[in-house]
């Protein structure tokens, strides 16, 4: 697989962006850029479950929020090693996804949507009730994850550091997703999305494969949460609220279900729309609603599908 023009351009933009912003005196926007990248990671992880796997999980924010809390709690307890934060985040969110997935994946259709939502709301109320870590007011942390190697220390408090770490995580996730789609596993997952009864009858261990997808996506969502805790220096139960799960779903549908770039495009467009429209009106959600409606009605596979078709037309 050769990296194509789109990939190279995206990489160039991602690397150049902080320096361009600084040159233009718009440093403030770097934190927005980091937020977009972190949401892009979360949306990409949801796209794996929802788009590629066809599992309409309505509780994905629970894993993002859980990852954020794991990191924030460790920071508030004085643990600053970023490696430990990441390891603990992945372990806890993967375990949570394993338990929630093992139970939820016994159901299908509307019941699956409802049970994932129910689990997420349980974690939301749990976050509200842990008074030791802020309860419903949330938890503010001063320190950030530190990554030290060979005498250098990377402190995620620095805007450039958190930005590039997030970009790195996103890049790894996108490469893995692009490799996954045409692989044995990717095609088996596509088959069980189309018809899991048939896939099972042919010999695919459908339940196990769905569970693997669910756990990997949950852990990646958790990593997005850990980065979010570092960016904001604050976590609150709202991170786990079902409306957050809804926002991630909107990003995936807007950007393109089951496309590599879908999560990235959805996160970027939705957050930029909020930012731009937010400057003019308090009711920006009203206008983003229209954009979403237009995309759903007129662009199959979202913005990624639209862009792919435009390229195909131009090349032909």
């Amino acid at each position: 697989m050769k990296p194509n023009v789109v990939t190279l351009c995206a990489a160039a933009v991602a690397i150049a962006l902080p320096f361009v912003l600084r040159a233009l005196g718009l440093d403030f926007y770097l934190s927005l850029a980091s937020r977009i990248v972190i949401y892009a990671i979360a949306a990409t992880s949801l796209n794996l479950v929802l788009g590629y796997g066809g599992m309409v999980s309505f509780g994905h924010a629970a894993f993002v929020g859980l990852g954020a809390y794991v990191t924030a709690i460790m920071l508030s307890e004085g643990v600053t090693s970023g490696v430990l934060h990441l390891a603990a985040t992945v372990a806890v969110t993967a375990l949570a996804a394993l338990v929630i997935g093992a139970i939820s994946l016994r159901t299908r259709g509307v019941y699956f949507i409802m049970i994932t939502l129910a689990f997420a709301q349980m974690l939301y109320y749990l976050a509200n009730s842990v008074k030791g870590y802020g309860g419903d007011e949330g938890l503010t942390v001063r320190a950030r994850s530190l990554f030290s190697f060979a005498g250098y220390v990377l402190d995620l408090k620095k805007p450039l550091a958190i930005y590039f770490v997030a970009v790195g995580v996103l890049a790894l996730a996108l490469v893995a997703l692009a490799r996954f789609a045409p692989s044995r596993f990717g095609r088996a997952v596509l088959a069980l999305r189309d018809d899991d009864v048939r896939a099972e009858a042919l010999g695919f261990a459908t339940y196990r494969y769905k569970l693997v997808v669910f756990v990997v996506a949950g852990a990646l969502g958790g990593v997005a949460g850990a980065l979010s805790a570092n960016l904001q220096g604050y976590v609150s139960p709202n991170l786990l609220h079902w409306t957050q799960s809804g926002t991630l779903m909107v990003m995936v549908i807007l950007g393109g279900v089951a496309t590599v770039w879908g999560g990235v495009l959805g996160a970027a467009v939705l957050l930029l729309l909020q930012e731009v429209l937010g400057a003019y009106t308090e009711h920006h959600e009203f206008w983003t609603g229209w954009v979403l409606l237009a995309v759903v009605l007129f662009a199959r596979q979202g913005l990624a599908g639209l862009l792919a078709r435009m390229r195909a037309t131009r090349l032909s």
Binding site: F185, D194, R198, A201
Partner: protein, 256 residues
């Protein structure tokens, strides 16, 4: 019956029961399918044929009884585990992977039973053997030139052929064909009959079919299911002249 007198049974079903509420869909079914034969299962609508197939394939759990396949008890195994042991079914209502091409549908069927599918890095197109076998199957089922087509470009008959072809693709030891000729025109069902006849070269076949004439041409042995019970098993000539079978299902015109 001594073991030497009968050819070894590939599939041995003993006392199989399935109840749905008060209805007994499968009522103490005993059934032997011998290695290498085409064994037909016929019976009127509502006789429980589809439920029995689902029990044999593992989609419906049995209340009582045992299913022994190739010498091993598979009664409680999951569907995919039975498929991996070589017991694969087709569906009466066509089930295909809509977002994959015709060739990819068959390649997926081959992949499903060959090694692990938990590999997420190497592109599957590097596995020439999968696609070689898939192309062979497409030629065998008369879709050799349609590999790149999307599923919705196929006719009903072609989809039925693909449905059966996917079942054959992994060369299973036993295939359960659930009404392969359902809804087919005369020309299409002749081709399907030839395909079923040819599939015995690689697989034992349990054929559920409504077309009684086709059944009597194809089958080595026939079992008749009525009201969830097997009322007769034997060679086609014997079964079609069995008074109980005539009374319950065939009627006089099929007796000779």
């Amino acid at each position: 019956m001594s073991a030497s007198a009968t050819p070894a049974a590939l599939l041995e079903v003993r006392g199989l029961v399935k109840r749905f509420g008060g209805i007994v869909a499968t009522d103490h079914v005993d059934l032997d399918v011998r290695a290498g034969e085409i064994h037909a299962l016929i019976g009127p609508n509502g006789a429980g044929k589809t439920t029995l197939v689902a029990q044999l394939a593992g989609q419906v759990a049995s209340d009582r009884g045992t299913i022994v396949f190739a010498g091993a008890d598979v009664t409680t195994l999951a569907t995919h585990e039975r498929a991996r042991r070589g017991l694969v079914r087709s569906f009466q209502i066509t089930r295909l992977f809509r977002s994959a091409s015709v060739l990819d549908n068959v390649a997926l069927a081959v992949q499903a039973v060959s090694g692990t599918s938990l590999r997420a890095w190497r592109p599957v197109t590097r596995e020439a053997a999968l696609f070689e076998r898939a192309r062979q199957v497409l030629v065998a089922i008369g879709l050799g030139s349609k590999g790149d087509c999307a599923i919705d470009q196929l006719s009903h008959g072609e989809r039925r052929a693909l449905e059966v072809g996917m079942t054959l693709a992994s060369r299973p030891r036993l295939i359960l064909l659930d009404e392969p000729m359902a809804g087919m025109g005369p020309g299409e069902s002749t081709r399907m009959e030839a395909l079923v006849a040819a599939s015995r070269a690689t697989s034992t076949v349990l054929l559920i079919e409504h077309d009684v004439d086709a059944v009597f041409r194809l089958a080595d042995r026939v079992s008749v299911l009525v009201g969830g019970r097997v009322i007769a098993t034997g060679a086609p000539a014997a079964v079609r002249n069995d008074p109980a079978v005539i009374a319950a299902y065939l009627g006089e015109e099929h007796a000779r």
